[in-house]
Amino acid sequence: MRWQGGDGARVTLADVPAGCLARIVAIEGAPSSRRQQLRAYGLLAGDWVRVVQHVPVTVAVVEHTELALETDLARCILVDAFEPWVPPSAQPRR
């Protein structure tokens, strides 16, 4: 399951399947103070975050912080790509 933006669809963090890494492109629709808080947590355009779950709320790992976000708020975070996350222990040895 790998998706790269470009088809014009509005894809948000709420649409990214749990267990995937997603690349942030913008934060839209949230109040200015919330946008700043989200950015202060490191949700910045171009950065990748890992989606842990969506129910009961969205949980995303940003840098080394787990952040619980209400789904309405997750819908304000636009992404332009996502791909499955592979835990370090499951990655092939180089």
């Binding site: 009961p56 709320v57 912080t65 619980a68 976000l69």
Partner: protein, 654 residues
């Protein structure tokens, strides 16, 4: 959940040292290491909601100030504004930013803001052990050179790096770091800074706060500038927003992030690390299936430890055994022999005696319950489980016009409603704080009361406990739902950091439990003694029986309880747990049937909170709001109690 006075006055001839930083990065542990003074330390954001002061032995005549967590400036919640306000009002000898080493970029975002303030600054990169476990290797020397301030790696819980930190604080100097913003912002900044009044922080930093719309800075300037001048400043900010085509705050933050990323790239070396057991468990604790299952295990464990072991086994040993068979008979015998005045003997060891009622209630009934609760609660706090409850309970709180974050003051309310009222500061809007305080005052029993309730209902049946829980939860949700529709304003959406699950440190849990028990005894014993004395005087003057007659229609007629229960509700005015203990005594004497016990427990749970909590609500929201809350809570408790009696009778409960 520690009702200590938080702001201890300490002389500060040598200047003050402020500890600031994001939430849950270990500021309070660093404070403890620097001052020797213990303040509540837990593993969830928002433990510190007031400032705490302690003298600094390493820097004579200086004080260290612990502050509530601050994600960034502009500040968003009331506890964050306390810290912002402090930076604007107090000239500090040094500011120590405590940062989470594994979240360096977020830490640096605040560092840049503090550096711009031109305050003598030291960065303590705390929890270095966790950063290393995450595969992060930080070049602190490189970081120090980039920022122009000392950067000290620490593991405060193990006291690692504290000596170096103390030395760095003593030699702290203002940072020379200066960030250049986009030309439009810089063009506004210079003239704005020139017009700023003198403040402990640099004029440029103050002007940046103003441009970013910081409320604490706005209030501070409003107190020092004519309204017309302030209007002029607001017009400049609006003009800048027009020129930029977006909020100046967004542009300023973006510029800071660009600088942060540049510094972080040169500082962080990352290697791959395996996920720890704590991380895996953390994921399970918020999982849609495993989360509720784990919650069930936690609640069952709490019930067994507090409700069964504390409230039944330990209470039986203490009340029936130690006090009932040994201490009280011996004391009664001794006093009767040596004090020839029966009235005095009665006041001490009679049915409403200071010892037999006041101290026996406080020490034999309540102390075992709160001891087990505080211990279990301390373990939960330090494990980092509480914020995960916010995730699990979010949907429930949505119904009540709040978000899952409100579960933190609610759970803290199980320990002490007074402190929990203070913790509502972590909620973002006044409306949310008000709703949370109403629910706390209405339906959240404190640990002592909860323990008594569990013990009494446990003696009836598990079914009775479930009925009590269902009624209280239904009232909580209905009142919350209704209040959310009546109180104007909007709900803020949930955004909460989930700290890593950690194995609690035994020493911290024990120190915290001891501190809470000390507070509890200091607050409870005088009130219980006062209550006993009051009841004794009422009994001696015959007023007690008159009051019982007066409240008979309500207590006996409407609630269907024996007349003696009036006394318990009278005690409930002092503290709800005192009232509950009075009912416990009635049940012990076989005066309450199963349905009466249930009705009494529901009514006393929904009864008005203790005097200390009422005072705290008044401090936070004013007397008019407090009076309105009491006017809702008091009649509602009796209404629900009476309706439950009717329902129980109709369904054949006896």
């Amino acid at each position: 959940m520690n009702c200590h006075g938080e702001t201890e006055g300490v002389a500060s001839a040598g200047g003050s040292i402020a500890l600031v930083g994001n939430s849950n990065v270990g500021k309070s542990v660093v404070f403890h290491r620097l001052t020797g003074r213990y303040v509540n330390v837990s593993n969830y954001p928002g433990t510190t909601v007031e400032i705490a002061r302690g003298s600094a032995p390493f820097l004579p005549e200086s004080v260290v100030i612990d502050t509530p967590g601050l994600l960034m400036l502009p500040a968003n919640s009331e506890d964050e504004r306390i810290t912002a306000d402090l930076l604007l009002r107090d000239p500090f000898r040094a500011v120590v930013q405590v940062g989470d080493a594994k979240n360096l970029r977020r830490t640096l975002l605040l560092t840049l803001q503090l550096a711009e303030m031109e305050l003598p600054l030291v960065l303590a990169l705390n929890m270095m052990d966790e950063a290393e476990a995450h595969g992060l290797h930080l070049q602190t020397e490189t970081l120090s050179q980039a920022l122009g301030i000392p950067v000290i790696p620490t593991v405060a819980v193990q006291r690692r790096g504290i000596d170096r930190l103390e030395q760095a604080i003593a030699e702290a100097r203002a940072s020379r770091y200066r960030l250049t913003y986009p030309a439009e912002v810089e063009a506004e900044l210079a003239p704005l800074a020139e017009g700023m009044p003198d403040s402990p922080i640099s004029a440029r930093a103050l002007a940046l706060l103003w441009l970013a719309g910081d409320q604490a800075a706005g209030d501070w300037l409003g107190q020092r500038m004519e309204a017309s001048v302030l209007d002029g400043l607001a017009a400049r900010r609006d003009r800048l927003a027009m020129a930029l085509g977006e909020s100046p705050a967004d542009v300023i933050q973006r510029a800071r992030w660009a600088a942060v990323n540049q510094i972080a790239e040169a500082t962080i070396q990352e290697t791959e690390a395996t996920r720890s057991l704590g991380q895996r468990l953390g994921d399970l604790a918020t999982h849609r299936v495993w989360g509720p299952a784990i919650l069930g295990v936690v609640v069952f464990g709490l019930y067994e430890f507090v409700g069964v072991f504390g409230a039944q086994t330990l209470v039986r040993w203490m009340e029936a055994g130690l006090f009932g068979k040994v201490v009280n008979p011996w004391l009664t015998d001794w006093l009767t022999r040596w004090i020839p005045i029966p009235l005095v003997v009665d006041a001490l060891v009679g049915p409403y005696g200071l010892w037999t009622m006041g101290l026996t209630y406080a020490l034999a009934l309540i102390l075992p319950i709160v001891s087990t609760f505080f211990l279990a609660f301390g373990l939960m706090e330090d494990s980092g489980y509480l914020p995960r409850l916010a995730v699990l309970s979010h949907r429930l709180f949505r119904i009540m016009g709040l978000n899952g974050k409100a579960v933190l003051p609610m759970v803290l309310g199980l320990g002490c409603v007074t402190t929990a009222t203070l913790t509502t500061r972590i909620l973002e809007t006044r409306r949310e704080r008000l709703l949370a305080v109403l629910l706390l005052a209405l339906a959240i029993p404190c640990s002592a009361q909860l323990g008594v309730v569990m013990g009494m209902l446990g003696a009836v049946s598990f079914q009775a406990t479930l009925v009590w829980l269902a009624v209280v939860a239904a009232v909580l949700i209905c009142v919350g739902w209704l209040a959310a529709r009546l109180v104007p304003g909007e709900r803020s959406s949930l955004m909460l950091e989930l700290p890593p699950l950690r194995l609690p440190v035994a020493a911290n849990v024990l120190v915290k439990t001891a501190a809470r028990l000390e507070w509890y005894l200091k607050e409870v014993v005088p009130l219980f003694l006062l209550g006993s004395l009051l009841v004794f005087v009422l009994d001696q003057t015959g007023l007690l029986s008159r009051m019982a007659r007066l409240t008979e229609p309500l207590v006996t007629g409407w609630l269907g309880l024996p007349a003696e229960a009036s006394l318990a509700f009278l005690l409930g005015f002092l503290r709800r747990d005192f009232g509950a203990t009075g009912l416990f005594a009635l049940q012990s004497r076989g005066l309450l049937s199963a349905s009466q016990t249930l009705v009494a427990m529901v009514t006393i749970t929904l009864f008005i909170p203790c005097i200390a909590a009422v005072m705290m609500i008044a401090r936070q929201h004013g007397w008019r709001t407090t009076a309105a809350i009491v006017a809702v809570v008091f009649p509602l408790a009796f209404l629900v109690g009476g309706l439950l009696r009717i329902l129980l009778q109709a369904t054949g409960w006896t």
